[in-house]
Symmetry: C2
Subunit: 428 residues, 2 copies
């Protein structure tokens, strides 16, 4: 069925302003932006009338998570990172089974689509289950089997098998190689992965410079420069290089990171909750680095909520730099949409233009927090006054996944039941 | 009508854990916490069945705002503070009329009660209108006429008249004296206000150390120590002293601020949006200072949302200090409830105990973000996973102001219409 969004607010490229108009979606693709004459349409069109009280924005992209960790949300709080991982998270993850990952992924996907996320990047294990959850729920996903040194060959094989099985599936799933981090993979292993990624023509998703400890490990134990190391290992030649976190990227050398295929994923909530710090986002934007936004997994960021990350990103760097002009609303909207889409290897999504796929979010502007919005301030209103609960509908390729509080592709009660069952087994 | 909350999760004092039980409210007061036998009740009782899927928490207290500035939300963004105030905010405020303030206040009150706020502190002008909005909507309020040097006598008279007219009204309104800030009121004026506050037996609400510029002004132009100055002026002898912001309180001297009648109001979103910085909250808690939470006005914090401020407060200081144990979930819940209530001069609210007034919030735990909550982790879940959109009901003295998406005391459509009309006059 085709879809007409009549009389809605549509962002111009760059989010400098919005214009009031119509959006026609045919075959999952944006076929017209502007004025659509109702009499020109056939019968089989779902029409949503915005009456100037709805905004449409591109689907939000959560560019770094471990979504199945909704199974571990709230099990361990306010502990230092090392104790948190070693005493709580890792022992529980060792007990996870494939089916747990399926249900945990669906729970996070439900939370994400209800908040306007249409696409996410995930690094974990039992990734076939994450793929299945993405396939069934209709969302887009970029998936990587997490690879660490100790299980190098078996896991690398799993990672390759994931590529064969799922890369390109339905045009909605991309598979990258996912070496966990420079402190869990040796330089030799990382080099091998970089080579395979080149051969396979896939991207690489890796944690990079999340903590001061990790920076010191690279510089001290490995004796390497953490930026040059990417080139030495050949990681920076991957089709896409997704560097999660980048909190400790050296501020004075960010221009070296400004490459078309390299993306830093900023996860502000998680970096704060684990006490890691604030990534140099204003400086990265200034230097022309591609910066996308992510939530990280629900065990270190209990909300899989890009509206939260957008607002937090727009606020915290103003506070940290003492500069109210740092990281503008339009910047975070770009990060959460078009930059994220490119980072995850999807072409033709992330903007509202004719010919782009219709991954779209409808935002209800008829709420107390938006009173007084206009074409000039709507980007600011969405970022500073908005929240995920303002999302009225979420579409991928014009298909509604969430509409007026209802999940169209997920049996949420079943998912909650199964996740609780898994948690009882894991924790009980 | 009495109210029974049957089978809900109730926090123990200190928020270390929650227990499942019933809450009986009679005559606006919590008359029983524990198990309530249905057969012991008379007929005229509204019963809400939680079935273990609702939490009840004390009403949240927004301890610093200028709520009518919803009229100016989004009119000026991402400007340095001085230009923001001088070029945009002040010229528009000069055009405000009494009725504008009434409607603007109601709009923010609607937003607040839908997010679980039952009590707020406000400093602005046309304060009779804010009082009227609070009276009619059923919320609690602490009100201060903003006082600045140039209009000292007329405004002081207005401030005193506000006390006579509204202090103690219906037990729901408290009036404080509201000298704006040490850079808009001379030491002599502040001393006179401190004396009058003592005579009248009311508290004082003042901006204090919001920006580095303000600290330098006090130390440089006034030649004073910003903590000792409070004592010199006699402000610290007020019944309550509410210091908004305190971003630049010297970290090594916070123990001097630990006094029963002195409260610092932390406004994290606003302090970030204006580029002011991060208040020393972990250090204040450590030093035993009373710290409450506020939003500040909607022009510098577009959301009047205490759930946002709670989560932000719990996250940002972990990031700034590099310490995942800084500012715990139970700390921010106390700040937002019992500390805030005391700060605003209300006795007998802010805790769920027999004999306390029933200012209460029901939170819907049957949502994807709370799957896996338990008696131990529920404080963390509420702060890190929760949001204002999870609020099912907000009560003041057992009277529902908001229930299942409906405003019981506010005609929201009328309010939106009137605010838009005011904005057109102000901006057009």
């Amino acid at each position: 069925m085709d879809l007409l969004l009549k009389d809605v607010w549509i962002p111009l490229p760059g989010y400098e302003r919005f214009e009031r108009g119509d959006l026609l979606i045919r075959g999952g693709v944006i076929s017209k932006v502007g004025e659509v004459d109702l009499s020109s349409l056939g019968g089989n069109v779902w029409k949503i009338y915005g009456r100037g009280k709805l905004a449409v924005i591109p689907g939000l992209v959560n560019a770094h998570s471990h979504v199945a960790m909704s199974l571990l949300r709230g099990v361990s709080e306010e502990l230092p990172l090392k104790r948190w991982l070693e005493e709580r998270i890792w022992p529980l993850e060792a007990k996870l089974e494939a089916e747990d990952v399926y249900w945990g992924s669906l729970l996070s996907i439900a939370e994400m689509i209800s908040g306007g996320v249409t696409c996410f990047a995930d690094m974990y294990f039992y990734m076939d289950q994450v793929a299945l959850a993405a396939k069934e729920s209709g969302v887009r996903a970029n998936l990587s089997r997490g690879l660490i040194e100790g299980f190098m060959d078996t896991r690398l094989e799993e990672g390759l098998r994931l590529i064969r099985a799922w890369d390109g599936h339905d045009g909605r799933i991309r598979v990258f190689l996912g070496p966990h981090a420079p402190y869990t993979c040796s330089p030799e292993f990382l080099r091998r992965i970089a080579e395979i990624a080149l051969e396979e023509g896939v991207g690489v998703h890796v944690h990079w410079l999340e903590t001061a400890w990790e920076r010191d490990y690279i510089e001290g134990s490995l004796g390497k420069d953490p930026i040059l190391l990417l080139g030495e290992l050949g990681l920076d030649r991957a089709k896409r290089l997704l560097l999660a976190h980048g909190v400790f990227l050296p501020r004075e050398r960010l221009s070296e990171m400004a490459r078309e295929n390299v993306f830093v994923v900023h996860n502000p909530s998680s970096n704060m909750k684990l006490g890691s710090g604030f990534a140099p986002v204003p400086e990265m934007i200034e230097a022309g680095v591609n910066v996308a936004l992510g939530t990280d997994g629900p065990a270190s960021n209990d909300r899989q909520d890009l509206f939260w990350e957008m607002r937090l990103c727009a606020l915290v760097h103003k506070g940290a730099k003492g500069d109210p002009t740092a990281v503008k609303a339009k910047d975070v909207l770009k990060m959460a949409t078009e930059v994220g889409s490119r980072a995850l290897g999807f072409e033709g999504i992330g903007r509202i233009e004719e010919g782009f796929e219709a991954d779209l979010v409808l935002v209800d502007l008829d709420r107390p927090n938006y009173v007084g919005f206009d074409e000039e301030n709507l980007s600011s209103m969405l970022v500073y006054a908005g929240s995920s609960s303002d999302v009225l509908a979420t579409f991928v390729r014009g298909v509604p996944l969430y509409y007026r509080g209802e999940f169209k592709t997920i049996d949420l009660e079943r998912v909650k039941f199964e996740v609780l069952r898994s948690r009882r087994r894991l924790l009980g």
